[in-house]
């Protein structure tokens, strides 16, 4: 193993290469630019291709093209580019093409502030395209090291589920310098828990069976298998057809191949101080979780019975982690509250869910400890000027 003091973008690049990624197409955007730059430097060294696209929509389409040609491919962007993925994301879901997409979140909406972290795409990664009738898989790292792990895992899941998998990071994680360990061989990768699934080739000419089966190889063109894939509703033979019954089979597959195999990835979460049924569970993901962990440890030393639950697998939403009848506090890098809505839905009926939103910045320890204290004492949370409703 080799240690580096490097950025999350470096870790993602090395993770992608370890997972077998040999194609990257992107479009410059802060804070994902450094990843594209790292890819442009590293991919050719490993016999891979880096291409710059005319826009994000083209970038992801180029990745799908390369994936359809048999390559493991990846693209990366931030929120304003992620919305241009709407078109290709849907196509990749429909064609069931393995692919990895990184979104490094910054504060929005629209271009917002390029240099401030944000978590405004929690729902957008669930519904990155139109039409519905699909599930998405989303992983959220909270450190440079974990950026590498989630990237490797995203490639693994993309192959097995034959679909795009999103890694949702934020500006602080991808740009921040940290201590990173890179495995140098397969044994070291195994030791670090990295899983790799090779690209296989669908024997064709049939498309996919109307089952929830995973591990069916994806369509790869150019092997003269008669393989077909399209944006239309396919029959099992891959033909475009306007038939509701065929669409039912297609939609069933897109939804249930993920829902029925969540065991493969639902262990991706992190819990701290959760063994003694805490009175208050603080829920977060990404960078804010690091501040939360520190605050929860401090709260424990002050005698507050607080625990921390950090989600890594964001979608499909891990409802099973919210069985405890406790108070919940959801900490997010946005003011509108996104994750909190899912937590409200998932918790037991009598549990109260509170929200602490920070816009373009991180919460402070004082913010968090003060909020824990008030919630535990059943005192109303201080209303801020921007709060239109009390969570």
């Amino acid at each position: 193993m080799k240690r580096y003091l490097e950025t999350g973008n470096f870790a993602i690049t090395e993770g992608a290469l370890l997972a077998g990624c040999r194609f990257f197409a992107g479009y410059p955007i802060t804070p994902a630019t450094e990843l594209a730059e790292a890819m442009s430097r590293r991919l050719p060294q490993e016999g891979g291709v880096y291409l710059q696209a005319e826009d994000e929509c083209a970038a992801m389409h180029m990745c799908i093209g390369a994936a359809l040609g048999g390559f493991k491919a990846m693209t990366a962007t931030s929120g304003p580019g992620f919305i241009l993925y709407a078109d290709p994301y849907g196509w990749a879901l429909g064609c069931e093409t393995p692919l990895v997409v990184l979104n490094s979140g910054r504060v929005g909406p629209v271009s917002g502030i390029t240099g401030a972290p944000g978590q405004g795409e929690f729902y957008l990664t669930r519904y990155p395209t139109q039409g519905g009738n699909f599930e998405t898989i989303v992983l959220a790292p909270n450190s440079a090291q974990e950026c590498m792990a989630t990237t490797v895992e995203a490639f693994y899941l993309a192959e097995r589920f034959r679909m795009p998998v999103t890694v949702l990071a934020d500006q602080l994680i991808t740009d921040g310098f940290e201590d990173i360990t890179v495995p140098e061989n397969e044994d070291e990768m195994k030791e670090m828990g990295f899983r790799v699934w090779p690209r296989k080739v669908h024997p064709g000419p049939d498309f996919y069976p109307p089952t929830d089966a995973i591990d069916v190889p994806p369509v790869v063109l150019g092997h003269n298998t008669g393989a077909l894939c399209s944006d239309w509703t396919p029959t099992e033979q891959g033909y475009d057809i306007e038939e509701v019954e065929a669409h039912h089979k297609h939609a069933y597959r897109l939804i249930y191949k993920v829902r029925n195999h969540r065991d493969l990835f639902k262990h991706h979460y992190d819990r701290k101080f959760m063994s003694d049924d805490p009175d208050l569970i603080v829920v977060s993901f990404g960078t804010p979780a690091r501040v939360v962990n520190t605050a929860v440890a401090k709260a424990r030393s002050k005698g507050m019975k607080v625990g921390a639950l950090r989600l890594i697998n964001l979608w499909p939403f891990p409802d099973e982690l919210f069985k405890a009848n406790a108070k919940y506090l959801v900490v997010e890098l946005n003011w509108d509250g996104q994750l909190v809505r899912e937590v409200q839905r998932a918790v037991p009926k009598d549990s109260k869910v509170h929200f602490l939103g920070i816009c373009g910045d991180l919460p402070t320890q004082a913010d968090l400890l003060g909020t824990f204290d008030k919630i535990l004492k059943n005192e109303p949370l201080a209303r801020r000027g921007w709060e239109l409703e009390a969570w």
């Binding site: 005319e54 929509c57 150019g222 003269n224 008669g226």
Partner: protein, 282 residues
């Protein structure tokens, strides 16, 4: 009685999709046949070609007709998809894209220009039915000026991409395309000869092929769905390059042939990757 076209069909096309579900009298089949015949005359086999299509009449009616591997991309994005696929495919595979005018010259024009710029090896056949006909007949970027369509009930009054001295061919030539040609679907053997050249160019080739739409374009503009009228109308508005008349809408023939004059995209990419790998620089 055995038709020459039945041999083309059985050799190269899937019986499931041929005959197509196109409207009665649609001219798309003529363009389709021109391309298949060019493939046959070049002696290419099913496995030599990966076929891509897009949205609209041209995309929908030609998708999954090719016996070999094929895809239908999102609207206007097939040129970006094709660039990614081109890099991944072995260089000897030909990439043929049958798309529509809205796809190539409207929603996909940016991607098309960048495909031309990079000189990625693909043959784009733009099947132009003079507007958005699969959505019922709205005007597009090649709809002749003055034409009545469902969204230009008083006549198409905008500048378009094929008149007043402006031509989409100039844009593509300026962008770096190495083979550009135009034929109407009635050009038969001449069009076949051109498409053969387009396929043989190891780079970006585009053949623009206007074809008659009796159902929507003709019924609004000519007031008749009679196929003969629209076939005659298209033919009368086409003339070989250099022999244009006052009412010529489409100057036909090879517009620009710089075949194999510029390095091809994927070849350049792989040579560069190889060089960086060996020497650390380019």
């Amino acid at each position: 009685m055995k038709y020459a076209s039945s041999e083309l069909t059985t050799t190269y096309l899937r019986s499931r999709k041929i005959p197509s579900t196109a409207c009665s009298g649609c001219g798309l089949g003529m363009n389709h046949k021109i391309v298949i015949q060019a493939i046959q005359e070049l002696g290419l086999k099913v496995e030599d070609i990966v076929w891509g299509t897009s949205i609209g009449c041209a995309g929908r009616q030609t998708f999954a007709t090719w016996k070999g591997d094929g895809f239908a991309g999102t609207h206007g994005r097939v040129y970006a998809i094709a660039r990614g696929l081109r890099v991944a495919l072995p260089p000897e595979k030909h990439l043929i894209l049958t798309v529509g005018d809205g796809d190539a010259f409207g929603i996909g024009l940016t991607h098309l220009i960048h495909a031309a710029r990079s000189n990625a090896d693909m043959t784009v056949i733009v099947n132009d039915n003079l507007g958005y006909q699969s959505t019922g007949g709205q005007y597009g970027w090649t709809t002749p000026q003055g034409s009545k369509t469902d969204s230009s009930p008083y006549g198409m009054f905008e500048h378009n991409l094929t008149s007043e001295g402006l031509d989409v061919m100039h844009i593509l030539k300026g962008a770096g395309a190495t083979f550009l040609a135009r034929h109407v679907s009635m050009d038969g053997a001449k069009a076949v000869a051109t498409v053969k050249k387009a396929i043989l160019n190891r780079g970006f080739s585009l053949v623009h092929m206007p074809y008659p739409c009796p159902t929507n374009f003709a019924s609004r503009e000519l007031g008749s769905r009679n196929q003969v009228n629209i076939y005659r109308w298209i033919k009368s508005h086409a003339a070989p390059l250099g022999k244009e008349k006052a009412d010529t809408l489409w100057a036909t023939g090879v517009w620009h042939d710089a075949s194999n004059s510029r390095a091809e995209f994927s070849q350049m990419v792989w040579e560069t990757v190889d060089k960086i790998r060996r020497t650390g620089k380019i």
